[in-house]
């Protein structure tokens, strides 16, 4: 029993050290965002939270259209999330629960598309969107990501186990067509899976940098990440302000994560085990 106790204590010591390393950058971000830039540049540097947080945040709002960028990012993230949830779960429902000619071939093609790195298609994707006249518009951020192979694959695995065939047969007997079966049988049962896919998609779109950097060419219509980098580039000397901007961009996401985080983490792990 003594060895068990020792093992437990050592584990907690290791884990607490890890937590410190994991969370320290956020503390440091707050320290820099709440002090003045000269204080940060000073030696020895200030290590405690200062009193200039509101002032620095105000400077961010004066220099970039922070709320505009946030709103744009929010629209893009919500738009992609809603479409992905609908298209992916609908396709997953069909793949998981129905036999149809070509099903396995289509699913195989879907799996192969995993292999293609997104950068490969970057240049022609840009050219295509330019042909459509979508460069600089919200459409360019939302439509290309509106359905994805990962979500369909993941939801299909989920649907296979979660939806009993009897429920579908019962709905068929009641005269429900495919889409009615999806709405009445599929969606309610898939809800926990949709919650995971929703948070996952939202976080990814919110944090994406390369794609919005390429397609949002109007400097007055930037997503949060690109606007943040712009702030960093142009006003890099005012470190406190840059860090206040970074802090403001991180807070909403961490909020979303802490609310839905516990299940989310379990599902990420479960997803990895299925591959």
């Amino acid at each position: 029993m003594r060895t068990e106790r020792v093992r437990e204590v050592t584990s907690h010591v290791v884990l607490m050290l890890g937590v410190l390393v994991s969370l320290f950058p956020f503390y440091w971000m707050l320290v820099m965002a709440s002090n003045t830039t000269p204080d940060i540049f000073a030696y020895p540097p200030k290590l405690l939270i200062g009193s200039h947080l509101w002032e620095n945040m105000g400077n961010v709002l004066d220099n970039i259209d922070f709320f505009g960028a946030m709103l744009l990012t929010l629209f893009a993230s919500l738009g992609v999330t809603v479409l992905v949830l609908f298209f992916d779960s609908l396709a997953a429902f069909a793949f998981a629960k129905y036999e149809f000619p070509g099903r396995n071939l289509l699913f195989g093609i879907l799996l192969v598309t995993f292999m293609i790195p997104s950068q490969l298609a970057l240049v022609p994707q840009f050219v295509t969107l330019a042909e459509f006249g979508w460069i600089g518009s919200l459409k360019a951020l939302i439509i290309p990501g509106a359905a994805n192979a990962f979500g369909i694959f993941w939801m299909r695995q989920y649907a296979k186990g979660a939806i009993p065939d009897e429920l579908i047969s019962a709905a068929k007997v009641d005269g429900a067509g495919f889409f009615r079966q999806y709405l009445t049988v599929g969606l309610p049962v898939l809800r926990p899976g949709l919650a995971f896919l929703g948070i996952f998609t939202f976080i990814n779109v919110w944090n994406d940098y390369l794609w919005p950097l390429i397609v949002m060419t109007d400097p007055n219509r930037l997503t949060l990440q690109v606007a943040l980098q712009q702030l960093n580039g142009v006003y890099g000397t005012d470190y406190s302000m840059v860090m206040a901007g970074a802090l403001m961009s991180v807070i909403p996401l961490i909020g979303v994560f802490i609310i839905g985080g516990r299940h989310f983490i379990a599902d990420i792990a479960a997803g990895a085990m299925k591959f």
Binding site: A42, P45, F87, T113, Q119, V123, I152, I214, M273
Partner: protein, 344 residues
């Protein structure tokens, strides 16, 4: 649906000898399912498949994005092979990948073991370890950029306070790589630990009990039970971190993008994707950008196969397969010998 169009003539022919009302066309019957899966395939055709094929075509051309495409054949690729900056971007990416992945996976294994043993505060630990992963790379890089900063960085302040010399992290090629690798490792260690933990929890405790009864030491248990049974999970993390590692871009772009040179001093932080980005969207050489994209794709496939070979294919399985092949050969040889004897 192309599939149903192609098959319809055959079914109409068959319809002449069987009643079409009795045997409904199974393609037409499956129409709702085709509608359900079509959004992905339509979007993929427009934004995935077409661009991929177009990028092959594009990589054989010289194009600035506005004028005419000029056919140059394999010229982009032959230039790629002799382009020292391209090779530098590959070496940089590989060095950053090794510098980040090796410590990251080892630390993740240690953390996962500790998480497995600790019974209290589990959900607190999990959330604390996962938060770095969901935070945006841009914000994180800005914080680490200040920590590694040459003049007033926290790290240099610490080094000076213990009597060491300052290190110009962000102006030396290796310092830049260490900084980028640190950001990557910091973001992904917790994620990988959670995945290892799921793998650990899937191993039945009966196996360990049995090993203990047989007198196996903790070290033996680790190498003979934990590691072999974790193999599929280790493979998953190795492959995903390889794919992610080869695509590193944002870190170096945020650190140096505003300074005018995308790779930083001495191009120490120039990665494959940042070289692609710089060529295609910085200097409008779309054809060359596409060629770099294909080189990246080949590297990803190559390294995924290497990972697969190193970690995935279990030795036992390979030996069994070899034994089976040998047995088959023997049987075939014997049969051939017999046939020869029968014929004569």
């Amino acid at each position: 649906m192309a599939v149903s169009d192609a098959v319809r003539p055959a079914t109409t022919v068959r319809g002449s000898d069987t009643d079409p009302a009795k045997r409904p066309n199974k393609f037409r019957q499956a129409f709702p399912q085709y509608v359900a899966v079509s959004p992905f395939f339509i979007l993929f055709a427009i934004f995935g498949a077409f661009p991929v094929f177009f990028s092959i075509w594009l990589s054989f051309h010289s194009w600035d994005g506005i004028g005419q495409l000029k056919w140059v054949g394999l010229e982009q690729y032959s230039y790629l092979f002799t382009d020292p900056t391209f090779w530098k971007s590959i070496t940089n990416t590989l060095i950053i990948w090794v510098l980040s992945t090796v410590p990251m996976l080892l630390l993740a294994l240690v953390i996962a073991n500790a998480l497995h043993n600790a019974t209290r505060f589990r959900s607190f630990y999990r959330i604390a370890y996962f938060i770095p992963n969901i935070t945006s790379v841009v914000a994180v890089t800005m914080v680490f950029g200040s920590v590694f900063s040459n003049n007033f960085g926290l790290l240099n302040a610490f080094l000076t306070s213990i009597g060491l010399d300052k290190i110009e992290w962000l102006s030396q090629p290796w310092g830049i790589k260490v900084a980028i690798a640190t950001i990557v490792a910091w973001r992904w260690t917790g994620y990988n630990a959670i995945i290892f933990l799921a793998g650990l929890q899937a191993i039945s405790s009966d196996i360990y009990e049995a090993a203990k009864v047989d007198g196996a030491s903790p070290r033996q248990q680790f190498w003979q039970i934990t590691v072999p049974l974790l193999r599929p999970v280790i493979l998953f993390t190795a492959v995903t971190s390889t794919i992610g590692g080869l695509q590193i871009f944002t870190e170096s772009q945020v650190l140096f993008g505003a300074s005018g040179s995308i790779g930083g001093p001495g191009d120490g932080g120039l990665t494959i994707v940042s070289y692609l980005y710089d060529n295609a969207f910085g200097s409008n050489q779309f054809g060359y950008g596409a060629a770099i994209g294909w080189a990246l794709f080949i590297l990803i496939v190559l390294f995924s196969i290497i990972n697969w070979r190193l970690i995935g294919g279990s030795d036992d399985e390979r030996l069994t397969k070899r034994a089976a092949r040998r047995a088959q050969r023997k049987i075939a040889a014997e049969r051939a010998g017999k046939e020869y004897a029968d014929a004569h």
